[in-house]
């Protein structure tokens, strides 16, 4: 009883971890399935077919490529714009600062469906044809606020004495920025960029509003498949993405942890 009391939190924690991980495990396991019908929801028999022909589902790899490119492009642009804005907000006091903060917050508080809809009305009234450009515009819009928030936290936590020390040691403002400020803020910028990519790569709702009839991103492909029949290749991609993410995040965390351990 005492043991249970002491370790209750561990047991609950592990159960919740299971809740988080079981769907991922299902995705992995079902990438080796050979389903009986159109839908890959019930286990039928083991098969490597999908792994041997990952682009076998028509159109899927094109959609994946498009999503990757949009993810990278929108993450790059929103990271640049967001980092600049984060420095302005984290560093300077100016008139309209609190209004600016509000403007940054509102897109994050707006449901995706509303954002997608309002963008669509704008694009229609502008006469802009839906496609890659409109998707890119939309993705930059809903990721930039997250980048600003992430980087701003890092900028704000920077000890101003460090930059003063650089100036005191004969660094010009530009040198101070590149030699001291930027390297120290870089982890925040990296985290913001990763978050932006993840949000863009995963988005269905906003994209669906602004993609038009012919442009297909990977989430849109998966959505379409869920209505007509899910190819096993979807699970292959899901597995690769999950393992890739574990690897990337794991490496990043391990570097961080080692740095912390050395520091301690």
């Amino acid at each position: 009883m005492r043991w249970l009391r002491k370790n209750l939190i561990v047991i609950i924690g592990l159960l919740v971890m299971a809740y988080i991980l079981i769907p991922n495990i299902v995705v992995v396991v079902f990438s080796f399935n050979k389903p009986a019908g159109h839908y890959n929801y019930e286990w039928s028999q083991f098969s490597l077919d999908a792994w041997l022909d990952p682009c076998g589902a028509p159109g899927m790899c094109d959609a994946l490529g498009l999503s990757l490119w949009i993810g990278i492009a929108s993450a790059t642009i929103s990271t640049i714009m967001g980092t600049m804005a984060a420095f302005a907000l984290g560093r300077y006091r100016f008139i309209g600062r609190s209004f600016t903060n509000l403007l940054v917050f509102f897109p994050m508080a707006t449901p995706e469906v509303v954002m997608g809809a309002s963008l669509l009305t704008l694009f229609i009234s502008m006469g802009l044809e839906s496609g890659q450009t409109t998707i890119l515009i939309a993705h930059i819009l809903f990721t930039v606020s997250f980048v600003i928030t992430t980087v701003k936290a890092r900028v704000a936590s920077l000890d101003p004495a460090l930059e003063q020390a650089a100036a005191d040691l004969y660094a010009t403002p530009a040198q101070t920025f590149w030699k001291v400020t930027f390297p120290l803020v870089a982890p925040g910028i990296g985290a913001g960029a990763l978050l932006a990519f993840a949000l863009s790569f995963d988005d269905y709702i906003v994209t669906n509003f602004n993609a038009g009839a012919t442009t297909l991103t990977f989430p849109m492909f998966v959505w379409g498949a869920s209505q007509r029949g899910t190819p096993v290749q979807i699970n292959v991609i899901g597995t690769v993405m999950f393992l890739g993410a574990v690897a990337i995040v794991g490496i990043a965390q391990a570097i961080g942890a080692r740095r912390r351990k050395v520091d301690a």
Binding site: L162, Q164, D168, Y170, Q175, V180, P183, L184
Partner: protein
């Protein structure tokens, strides 16, 4: 550090009517200061007295609202921090966390395009006895070591003036005492002008040649530590630097070098030269606790004697500190060295005495 050792600082630092205001708050109120080259100078004062603001203005990290700053003959008031041959040891050390110790120390030299920056940085690390830590990151070092890195990072640039902003504030007492000696040694070795900001009077007196006591944006008094201690000009200085017994007095007569004053009806002798020329609101006589002696009531060798009752006695080993209550209620503090003389007990009637030239006089403010 050979070059630095040979090269004594040439520039005298001069502050002329230097002032810093924030809206309605005056942090530094038009101070005047001359710091001779090669000296160890301390700015001493309580929190909020303007000493750090003064330091930051010298460093170029803060813009003066008025006045000028001269380094040698050059007016540096409007030059920016990175253009001044002045370096700072920051209170929090401000070591760059992403650079190792060697790169931290070499940062300024590389900015100055010194070719053999590595050799010089290593020499500076040797001076602070941390050469073996060159490849480590700041957070791997203890507070005391970080402090020495910050010092090495500043002096390696051979600045005209080195500014130290409460550099020992974060260290524990024992380490602080060690570092005080260490700082003094390094200052003598490199010969750079040190300006040291501190609120610790003992620290200031241990290290500095000259101390400026600041209060509310003004320099209250400036002088050598012994001078400030023995001849404080104001009650603030008298109480900020150690403890003082202050008695209200009135001058009754002056004959040659001696003067007679009275305090609470008792006639006392003072040195005439020590009476301040201006004291519109009256005078006070000050005596340090260790200058007071417990004597026999009948002892006639002392001209200045007061009697009272011991109201408190605390023994600290080297000495005993008594509080002696005067007939008018004031309690005087007396420190008696543990030199074998008889100790008084609580409630004893005692007589205390002092030499006239051990007393100082200040105005009532």
């Amino acid at each position: 550090m050979t070059e630095a050792t040979q090269r004594k600082a040439q520039g005298e630092l001069r502050l002329v009517e230097l002032e810093r205001r924030y809206d309605d708050f005056v942090a530094v109120n038009g101070i005047e200061l001359d710091v001779p080259p090669g000296s160890f100078f301390a700015l001493l004062g309580p929190s909020g007295c303007g000493k750090t603001t003064t330091l930051r203005m010298i460093a170029g990290l803060e813009e003066p609202s008025g006045g000028r700053i001269f380094l040698g003959t050059e007016d540096i008031t409007n030059t920016r921090a990175h253009q001044r041959r002045v370096n700072t040891v920051f209170q929090s050390y401000a070591l760059f966390p992403h650079l190792n110790i060697l790169d931290n120390v070499g940062f300024g030299l590389r900015q100055l395009k010194v070719a053999d920056w590595k050799t010089k940085a290593m020499q500076a690390l040797e001076l602070v006895k941390l050469a073996d830590r060159a490849k480590q990151k700041p957070r791997q070092l203890s507070g005391g070591m970080q402090q020495r890195v910050a010092l090495a990072r500043a002096i390696v640039n051979e600045p005209e003036v080195l500014l130290l902003d409460e550099p020992l504030g974060a260290l524990d007492l024992k380490l602080r005492r060690e570092m005080q000696i260490e700082l003094k040694r390094i200052q003598q070795e490199v010969g750079i002008t040190f300006i040291h900001v501190t609120h610790d009077q003992e620290e200031a007196m241990t290290m500095a040649d000259t101390v400026a006591v600041m209060r509310a944006g003004n320099i209250e008094q400036l002088g050598a530590p012994a001078e400030l201690y023995d001849k404080p000009a104001t009650a603030f200085v008298a109480n900020f630097l150690g403890q003082s017994n202050l008695l209200p007095i009135e001058v009754t007569s002056i004959t040659g070098e001696r003067a007679t004053v009275s305090s609470h009806g008792t006639s006392l002798v003072v040195e005439a030269a020590a009476i301040p020329s201006e004291a519109p609101d009256g005078l006070r006589l000050g005596i340090r606790p260790e200058k007071l002696r417990l004597v026999e009531a009948t002892d006639t060798t002392w001209t200045n004697k007061l009697s009272g009752e011991v109201s408190d006695a605390s023994f600290t080993g080297v000495s005993t500190t008594y509080l002696v209550r005067m007939p008018w209620g004031q309690e005087l503090t007396v420190t008696q060295p543990n030199d074998g003389t008889a100790r008084a007990e609580l409630g004893d009637q005692v007589t205390i005495a002092w030499d006239p030239h051990h007393a100082f006089m200040i105005g009532v403010d």
